[in-house]
Amino acid sequence: MTQSPLPPLLSVTGLTLGLRQGRTLVQDVSFSLARGEVIGLVGESGSGKTMAARALLNLLPPAITRTGGTITFDGHDLTTLDPVAMRRIRGARIGMVFQEPMTSLNPALPIRTQLEEGLILHTTLSAPERHQRMVDMLMRVGIANTEYCLNAYPHQFSGGMRQRIMLAAAMLPRPDLLLADEPTTALDAFVQREVLELMLDLTRENGTAVLMISHDLSMVARYTDRVVVMQQGVVVEQGPTQDLLLHPRHPYTRTLLDALPRRPAPRPDKTATPPLVEVRDLVVRYPGRRRLLGRDPDKQVLHDVSLTVHPGETVALVGGSGSGKTTLGRAIAGLTPVTAGSIRFRGAPLPHRPPFRQPRVWLDWRLDCQMVFQDPYSSLDPRMTIGAAVGEALRHDRTLPARNRQTRIDEILTEVGLGAAYAGRYPHELSGGQRQRVAIARALARRPAFIVADEPVSALDMTVQKQILDLFTQLQDHYGFACLFISHDLGVVEQIADRVMVMHDGRIVEHGPCHTVFDSPQHPYTRQLLSAIPMLEPQPGGGLSLRWRYGEPGSA
């Protein structure tokens, strides 16, 4: 498709964007897109990929301006277009799907109004025609009850459904180009694949070209004809997807490919030792809301869940959103009260509810069970230095004299790869990956026996993800802590887990050693989850090829 004789639909040459104060964010970016072509724009956060795409529609934040380059779309120079003409192109000829389905639909308007908006603006269709077109489109994106949907509000739909509706809204005016900015990053792996395939089918039917922006190279590689790789505002490599995977030329592309999940050799089985943590028939029920008369029925989140974690072992808890995996982790860490069942630590039972005056067994547990949270931007107190944050973990350590505290802080900061010099810095001076290192340092400072890690890498870029996972494994070898690793990302789990537990609707539906679950899954839900992640096969010459487990898309 790259040798198309027709002029390209979109061509960007020498696009340069900068902050008002003069810093350049995107430098000399050039790429072109033929009609009906699907290309991927790949890069990590801060690489300028989103800004480059927003510049196409002139939707840059006020602090950023275009300082050079041209953008030609179907013969029009978008950089010199007046606002009125620009508005005629936005939506009608170039559609956009945003990342966050929870916030990109207006919560105060019914779906009908939001879908119809574009049609009223950009077409001359009559009301019944518009209605017909909306119904057809909703059917097409897989929403069966169209009348209900049209009159419903965004909050009545799940994330995946909203992204389908968003897609329908963008595709209704039949644009020539669809910009999809991380369209499925906020969704579960399984839903992600469904939505992406739908997007691709839909655009193919309409002959719409797609510019897909993502940090996830494996996902982009699966669906695109060509890939443009950006690093720090510069295009480092672009070319046909297959070539790029098989023969990456730029070192950065190689780094990205290396960061894709691969399974390490299995570690020795540790289940022979007595369990460190033993959860039996755990039930967590959230009380229903109190109404004027009576109360809503309780919501049961965990149904008789049992699991054991042995010393030094990593047990992964996998499941879609709403499966109860986070609740289980929080209940074990003592952040969520337990309704029934027991949690035993080294054989001693823990109280169900954190008591106000902490008895000895509870405090010991608190110190032996630490937690690493998902979002490194909110898990560190913005007003505390890194040293103070890590030092706080040592407050309750009775074995460590106060004068040795600083030594320990420096030591652990060095061990997580930051160095003692970071102790005086504040969280906002650090990148996401560095913050997550601090969070790990804080959790490990007290040398706990057990760590609950709740999606510790899902907020990070692929390459940083890999670094953090490597660090985690390395520290585990050093300290020998056991870990309950909660994640929705099977690719990550495959790299780190000894045993895997698959959760669905508050129950554990399958568990077993990592390679057994990944190679011969028994439960249909596990198969479904696995079918959504691509498998990588290293090729001779340093490249990779991608393959789906369990058949091609559509047949799964």
Binding site: C369, F373, L380, R442
Partner: protein, 281 residues
């Protein structure tokens, strides 16, 4: 230069912030001068010199009892600033205490505190202060108490709102997981993160309290004469507006400029402390 926080660097300052800062600085200096030294005794009556216009001896003229207006303005500034400062401190301290407890503990403490708070909030502030003062009697500390009570509810609301969103943040949970008690978590992690909205609120509140104090004095329930405040000077000038315009204009101007300064500074601080607004303009 690098040691200074960015908002203190003159070159990079917004003109509004600069103006607000200068006005508040001038106010502070005036109040300090009034406290330490005045050209004449602000209470000394000189009937022969009454209602004299500005002259070399009396730069800003004299009032209906022949007292030096400049001296009275300086002394009045000291009183007014002292009252406002103390009121803001009281309101912010107690308001923070209640707001923090309500937001962090939730449950019944929240319900009780917020019910009382809303009840107080339902009265117009100045009316509440008037009512209280008629019971307490007009005195400097009566005013401080009454105005603190009138201004506290807004602090409670602001702090509670901030706490409600902060307590869901992961670093608060992280503190719990580390084995810290609830009280420690509240004071060490939640409270310091509320300071940004509090500083903004306190700054603009300072201006409003000064205005309220002037209004109370104007209505005759403020600091009792002969002690000068800007409010009672304004009130006393009313009958002489035809003969001595400066008597009304000068304290009025002082009040307006202070309010302007406090609001500009408050807005500038809000812009500075809200990272989303930084880098724009």
């Amino acid at each position: 230069m690098t040691a200074l926080p960015s908002f203190l660097r003159l070159r990079r300052m917004q003109p509004n912030a600069l103006l607000g800062g200068i006005l508040m600085l001038v106010l502070g200096l005036t109040a300090l001068t009034g406290l330490l030294w005045t050209p004449y005794d602000p209470l000394k009556i000189n009937i022969l010199q009454r209602l004299a216009g500005p002259s070399a001896a009396h730069w800003l003229g004299t009032d209906e009892f022949g007292r030096d207006v400049l001296s009275r303005l300086l002394a009045g500034a000291a009183t007014s600033v002292w009252i406002s400062l103390l009121t803001v401190t009281c309101a912010v301290t107690t308001g923070t205490l209640f707001g923090l407890s309500a937001g962090f503990l939730r449950g019944w403490p929240d319900r009780i505190i917020m019910a009382c708070n809303d009840a107080v909030l339902a009265f117009p502030g100045i009316l509440l202060a008037l009512g209280l003062l008629s019971v307490l009697g007009a005195s400097k500390y009566g005013i401080i108490l009454a105005l603190s009570l009138a201004y506290m509810p807004s602090v409670v609301r602001v702090v509670r709102g901030a706490v409600l969103s902060l307590r869901e943040r992961e670093f608060v949970e992280a503190s719990r997981v580390m084995g810290n008690s609830e009280l420690y978590t509240m004071l060490r992690h939640v409270l310091p993160n509320c300071t940004a909205p509090l500083i903004v609120l306190a700054t603009s509140m300072f201006g409003w309290v000064l205005l309220s104090e002037s209004a109370l004095s104007f209505l005759g329930l403020g600091v009792p004469p002969p002690a000068p405040t800007w409010g009672n000077m304004l009130a006393a000038s009313r009958p002489y507006i035809g003969q001595a315009v400066w008597l009304g204009i000068l304290p009025g101007l002082c009040i307006s400029l202070t309010l302007l300064g406090a609001n500009l500074l408050g807005d500038a601080l809000r812009d500075h402390l809200d990272p989303r607004l930084r880098g724009l303009k």
